[in-house]
Amino acid sequence: MSHNYICITSEPLDLLSINKLVERTTVGAIVNFIGTTRDSFEGKQVETLEYEAYVPMAEKELLKLCDEARSKWDLQGIAIYHRIGLVPVCEASVIISVSSAHRADSLHACSSLIDRLKETVPIWKKERYTDGTSNWKQNCP
């Protein structure tokens, strides 16, 4: 019944198809986190984000996070899709979709999954600004 759907892709992320992966007749709640590209950082205008990943290790770490979430909450489907390559402003860089019978499990798990992803998954983000400069952005330690 339970299943983890992990994908690192350079294709644009499609919310509806990702949510379909976690749908079940036994599901009462589906919770999404969508990470999108903001247009500014410290007064500089962001033109685009560029993501890079150590793909096989990122997939491995994402699966570990799914196991971790399942050990804490009663979940049915988990889908984590992360985009790599150029991601323009307003587009989604990551979509997490979690389903459960009761909403508390998905709500908590989804929040935890994005926090933990930012702590453990080997993916990097380069912000390219309209002034031509760029910066490898660190998640807070």
């Binding site: 990470g35 290790m57 992360h82 080997p122 990097w124």
Partner: protein, 97 residues
Amino acid sequence: QHRPATMAPRVEVKVLYFASARECADAKEEVVAVEGSDGAPPTTAQLEQVLLERHPKLRAIFASTVFAVNMNYVDKGEAATLREGDEVAVIPPIGGG
């Protein structure tokens, strides 16, 4: 005296560079030979010295990078033993999500 091949004091590992490390090394990956000291097998501590010598620009970022050996993080300050053919990634501060 017989020494098992996997514990030889000199090994070749595949080093992967990502993000700012890739820019500093001007390479995505390379094969690097590393020797252990005092007959002990080489570790990530020796590899660090080899990489910093090979690519001096890495010095600017190495304080905040960690290694992963065969896709297992090595804690900063620890030294993981390296074996022939290991895949070692140079991991700058992550920024996913």
